[in-house]
Amino acid sequence: MKSQSSVFSILRIFVIVLIMFILLAPFLWILLASFRPNMELVRNQSLIPNTLTIENYVSLFGKSGYWQWIINSFIVATYTVLISLPLIVAGAYSVYRTHYWGRNALSLFLLSVYIFPTALLVVPIFRIFNSLSLVDSHLGCALLNTAFAVPFGIWLLQAFLKSLPPELEEAAAVDGIGRMRTLFQIIIPQAAPGIIAIAMFAFIVSWTEYLFAMTLLLSNDLHTLPIGLTGIVFGQYRVNWGFAAAGAVGSAIPVFLLFLIVGRWFIRGISAGAIK
């Protein structure tokens, strides 16, 4: 019995390591590639580097517009979070709590935003935003990101709200506390982990958005990180892989730090939404 169980546990560890490797290998490769010269990467894509260099990072931090792109990305992402959170909270509370005709249909319809291939929307969006003078502005870009973050955010948050005991609101109602006060002083604080998780989600949606930023942000000094990086990575005759890897690491670091700070809430928010 004992040997059988130890064989089983060795097997289990092996499977875990294998899965971890499959999941983490691409990230590891990118991290290692970012320290390799571009010419070596073109010849040899194996995981183990021959030579290590910080040349890619020197050009990323020193010679590119990295810091400007970071600031721009940060501005757009912050706008996105600030605009989408009130909409998500109001929308989720409405779907979860109030009763009106067509509520269920509406809440299902919300997710239909994601049905359309985004490439199809580029031209109409550009024309609409142009007529609203929102082209070439961070706010315009953030508004568009908001449109993509809000439906999923509502869906996620209403699942989180459903996991709160309904008695909280009933107790407030019996105590004569008005609906707005109940929302702001009871529901929102109780749902804080979920709301923070959704704020993170909206932030990342904006941080990684490429297509619409590319379309809407015309001036170089407004470019966000994904556009800025592609501009350099894809040179006229060759692709700079080493730099691309350094850029990927450089754009992941701010998000990684953000996760470290609020990751605890993120996990709790996601799992509440997933179980219920």
Binding site: E167, E170, V174, D175, G176, R181, A192
Partner: protein, 360 residues
Amino acid sequence: MASVALKNLYKNFGQTTVVRNVNVEIDDGEFLVFVGPSGCGKTTTLRMVVGLEAISEGEIYIGNNLVNDLPPGDRDVAMVFQNYALYSHMTVSRNLGFALKARGVDEREIINRVQRVAKMLDLEEMLERKPRQLSGGQRQRVALGRAVVRSPKVFLMDEPLSNLDALLRLQTRKELIELTSELKSTVIYVTHDQVEAMTMGHRLAVMNKGEVVQLDTPEKVFNEPANRFVAEFIGSPPMNFLDVEVSEKSHKKTIRADSFELELPNSMSSFSDSKAIMGFRPHDIKLVSEGGLGGRVTVVETLGAEKLIYLKVGNNSLSILVPATEKISSGEHLHFEINKDHLHLFNRDDEKRILFPTES
């Protein structure tokens, strides 16, 4: 404080009627308990009084005011929930004062009232703690305090003790009785626990299938149950029931079951039907060496001071309570007599208890 009146109250969910024609008047300062099995409509009735559930038909008065259309917050009632519903992000002190603050009560007055209630409920040490740092019993007291601090006209409690462990429940029950009698408050209390109902209520409203089947003092409900359901639900262990035939034998009414005969007491001599359900409580018996009812012991449960004995009498399973000092083991043959003063007869058709002229 105020009286409460429920008049012809109905609640329908679609085609299903879950509360049917409930008529209950609760006096000012009375402790009334709605008791019944789960799904009997007691919680729904309470929720209608609070205003968390719309009324399908009928009227609810608190004091002299018709409150049918008033929102919960305007009814001046306070509710204690089964899971306490404490605001976990607020300290105990903020939990207690929140409703007062929302109503615009003066800050100084809030502090005074919170302090007074905390003292009353022994929560003074915990005012700055969050609910998750409290034990179940302490949370329960905070929930109670949140109701008390508002000095409402009526307290409504929905199984507030059911999340506590047995010992704590006993203690909290006593504290709750003391507190409500000290405050002279009108209380409507919902429970499925008949012991809780018997010990706490001035009167019980026993509910079954959406209807109040008996509304009376605990003693009356126990000694003079309205029907078989009440007789079975109230009292632990439950009453024994036997289908019996009634006949007249030398001018005496006699009941007969498959394995025994029993002469009815004179007070029941007016009984005229030929069939009935006989009921007696497990403790209303006396062990005898022979005669009476006899049966084989199937299970012996030692309860401490008493033993609960399950017997097979003919085709019927009965239970009797005997002092723990009696040496009885399963398989043994046992004889007992029923105390005829506490014998009940129920109609076989509608299962109502048959009243005899000596009773009021």
